[in-house]
Amino acid sequence: MKTTEILEKLPYSHPFHFVDELLSIDENGVTGTYTFSKDLDFYKGHFKDHPVTPGVILTETMAQIGMVCLGIYLLGELDANTSGHVMLTSTAIDFTKPVFPGEKVTVISEKVYFRFKKLHCKVEMQNQAGEIVCKGTLSGMVTTRLHG
């Protein structure tokens, strides 16, 4: 499956779409990027007068690129006629550096296993300087329906 096809299959739209580009994808992992626009609504409140990207949004960005895109790809490899969704089931992430409005991040995800429809990945996010801003593990169930 081509990266453009995967991006078209993503079930997200503004203001909850956190994938710009997929640089590479294969059965072992995926690398993709996203730039946090300064206009994103949550910056108004997180925090008052001091905008920083919330950890949950960084986690979501890692999940959309590192798990959902990979899950759609893996299910497409198994069965080209079905389209996959990924239901997030667990996260364990450490945050090391803040991500400010306007920053571009790169998410690198490595498949640990994909068995019995559960996808478990090691994921990290880097800023433009190549520094790790957060890393950890994510897992989800790959399903053919949006609500599991």
């Binding site: 089931t89 667990s90 296993y113 019995f116 169930m141």
Partner: protein, 86 residues
């Protein structure tokens, strides 16, 4: 491996994922992983991966679908161990 020994090795694995500790106390063949122990589908996968490692067996998709209760799990583990020994 007899059934008692198997249960002895299976119990700690199940306990790691069981949410309902009262049902865990009354564990029997009919105990349902999802309905009684309240294990979600994602953790059920991890439980099965732990079983594979503990008993050095491989669970296929068909067996996974049958693995709904303690009794079914014991049967599948015994069957796989016997196949390994042959």
């Amino acid at each position: 491996m007899n059934k008692e020994e198997l249960i002895l090795r299976l119990k700690p694995i199940v306990d790691t994922y069981a949410q309902d500790k009262a049902a865990m106390e009354n564990l029997n063949d009919h105990t349902d992983f999802i309905k009684d122990l309240h294990i979600n589908s994602a953790n059920l996968v991890d439980l099965v991966l732990d079983i594979e490692e503990q008993f050095d067996i491989e669970i296929d998709n068909t067996s996974m679908e049958k693995m709904l209760t303690i009794g079914a799990a014991i049967e599948i583990i015994q069957e796989k161990i016997n196949t390994n020994d042959r």
